[in-house]
């Protein structure tokens, strides 16, 4: 049974992956909901440009995104230097950078799910809330947001799963540093490159499958509970 025990490196990779994914999703959720709302409800100049930009990570090779992040947010990058001077935040070659890479890659999935859900909300119900005395912000938080809960859940799970699996952008932007940026897929890749790493690689592979399945089941269960709640 010794083959099943995780080595410290693998435990560290798992912990780091969950941590990075958590922050990637938590950080992008508010922005994702806002952008989804903008795209679903408003007409503004440059809307298709914004839509396209958000979807780029879906169609570009992840390495390209990682490289763009490195150019932009690296220590010498324009935005990176600015962020460092202004807020003292450095993204290059640490877990925060890994979280940003994961968030950017997962963002389109989150926005798509939430946007679809917002487009499905009956605007007549929102209008009714307006006539009952609720301003636009209150309508958003008391009517729209509760009604798009399933979409947000789906978006969260998709984004979380995508973040856990992020490889190309992460390794390009923040490299493969044990304990700092070596997430589960990176550790798995490293193991496959090492003689005798097959067993470890298999363990990480199984963990990945288990986490992904658990996330999907949880999402399905929560959505079902929400539907049951709505239908009384």
């Amino acid at each position: 049974m010794a083959g099943w025990a995780l080595s410290p490196v693998e435990v560290e990779a798992l912990r780091l992956s969950l941590w990075v994914s958590f922050w990637a999703v938590a950080g992008s959720l508010p922005i994702g909901v806002l952008v989804a709302w903008l795209l679903a409800r408003l007409e503004f100049p440059g809307k298709s440009l914004l839509d396209g930009l958000i979807h780029l990570p879906l169609v570009l090779p992840p390495v390209v995104i990682g490289y763009l992040l490195l150019v932009g947010f690296g220590r010498r990058g324009v935005l990176g230097a600015w962020l460092h001077d202004l807020a003292g935040i450095t993204l290059a070659f640490n877990w925060k950078g890994a979280a940003v890479a994961a968030a950017v890659m997962a963002f389109p999935l989150m926005v798509r799910a939430v946007r679809l859900s917002i487009e499905g909300v009956d605007r007549g119900v929102e209008a009714a809330a307006r006539t009952l005395g609720a301003g636009p912000v209150r309508v958003f938080f008391t009517v729209t947001l509760p009604l798009v809960t399933p979409g947000i859940l789906t978006g969260l799970i998709l984004a979380f799963a995508r973040s856990l699996g992020e490889f190309g952008a992460t390794i390009t932007f923040v490299s493969n540093i044990k304990g700092e940026t070596q997430t589960l897929p990176l550790a798995l890749y490293t193991l496959t490159q090492m003689p005798g790493g097959e067993v470890g690689a298999m363990r990480l592979c199984l963990i990945s499958v288990v986490i992904a399945m658990a996330a999907l089941v949880a999402s399905e269960g929560l959505t079902r509970r929400f539907t049951a709640y709505i239908s009384g």
Binding site: R130, T131, L132
Partner: protein, 367 residues
């Protein structure tokens, strides 16, 4: 007082509507679908912004294009009951009811939750969610939700139109009571004559984005030139009466032409009751027939004869109030009817419309 003057271009459709309605009571916005009724109430509610004009409710200006004033819907205190209910699916019935109430300043809340729950008979539904309600129950909750915000004006956009006949009969008594007891003015949108006669006092007749006529219901309903708009297939006369007495299964209704006898109506003596006499239910004789089963015979004279559909002509009479009869051209010739000629109008049946909780009943009173 509701003072509305609206102009709005919506694609090819131009809405140009102006009317005033009294402080209390129900004003019906009546017209066919596409006449612009819903657009008007949406603008009064603030959900749609007119191009020009003004909206004043109880001397508070809600919209004035000249001054660039547009009060947002949440600040208008105008209750809106939608055709499709529009309850919040994620909230319980109770939370739906109190949604607007909690947003109303305490000093302006003059409607109590318990009163509304009792009035609408929805006490047993409070902990359910809208998905578990029938169509009629949903509409009752929607009515309660709008009432509980203590509105200065209540808009009802065809609140019964999405219900089937039996659901309609379920909600109608509540609406009827509400319209009778509430001091809040109501603007009631409908294309159903039955509903309007049941509930409203004043009528604004809309036709293709314009006001064709407005005024007391009796006046508008009895104008043959408006018949196309008020109810094409069924010409008739609407008469305001007062319940004078109940006797031996009959109710006596006083009106300017005398006394109508109808089968007993459960309305207390002294109350007003609106009745409608279909033009086809009125026969004409030159003298009062000696032996007849008809109870309602009124002397009067012909005032005009106008063309009806096909072989039929419409005879307008004055029996102390206007009365219309639709009879064949042959009969008119046989009786030599012409304006000024004295006649007897014999009423075969009367429909009672207002004040009766069970909607309108067609009361055959040949007996």
């Amino acid at each position: 007082m509701l003072d509305v003057n609206l102009i709005r271009q919506q694609g090819d459709f131009r809405l140009d509507v102006a009317f005033r309605s009294p402080d209390v009571g129900v004003t019906a916005l009546f017209g066919r679908s596409g006449a612009g009724k819903t657009s008007v109430v949406n603008m009064v509610a603030g959900l749609v912004r007119p191009d020009r004009g003004h909206i004043v409710v109880n001397s508070r200006t809600l919209f004035d294009a000249a001054k660039g004033l547009h009060v947002p819907p949440e600040k208008r205190r105008v209750g809106y009951i939608f055709q499709d209910g529009r309850l919040f699916p994620h909230l319980s019935v109770k939370s739906n009811l109190t949604y607007g109430m909690h947003l109303t300043p305490l000093s302006e809340r003059h409607v109590a939750l318990n009163d509304v729950v009792d009035l609408l008979g929805i006490g047993h539904l409070l902990h359910r969610r809208p998905a578990k309600l029938s169509g009629g129950e949903k509409q009752r909750v929607a009515i309660g939700r709008a009432l509980l915000m203590s509105p200065a004006l209540l808009l009802m956009d065809e609140p019964l139109a999405s219900l089937d006949r039996s659901r309609k009969a379920e909600v109608m008594p509540f609406l009827s009571r509400l319209c009778g007891e509430l001091s809040t003015p109501i603007l009631y949108v409908s294309h159903s004559l039955e509903e309007v006669l049941n509930l409203a006092d004043t009528m604004v007749l809309l036709d293709e984005g314009r006001v064709a006529a407005s005024g007391p219901i009796e006046d508008l309903m009895n104008r043959p030139d408006l018949q196309r708009l008020t109810g094409a297939d069924d010409l008739g006369t609407v008469i305001a009466t007062t319940v004078e007495a109940h006797e031996e299964g009959l109710t006596r209704l006083g009106f300017p032409g005398g006394m109508l006898r109808v089968p007993k109506v459960a309305v207390p003596v002294g109350n007003r009751l609106r009745v409608r006499i279909g033009a086809r239910s009125v026969a004409i004789a030159l003298q009062k027939p000696p032996g007849t089963s008809l109870q309602n015979i009124f002397p009067g004279k012909v005032t005009a004869i106008t063309g009806g559909p096909g072989e039929l002509l419409d005879v307008q009479m004055d029996i102390g109030c206007p009365l219309l009869a639709r009879i064949t051209a042959r009969a008119i010739q046989a009786l030599a009817l012409m304006p000024g000629k004295p006649v007897c109008a014999m009423v075969k049946s009367v429909a009672v419309s207002r004040g009766h909780l069970n909607a309108s009943l067609d009361l055959q009173i040949d007996a």
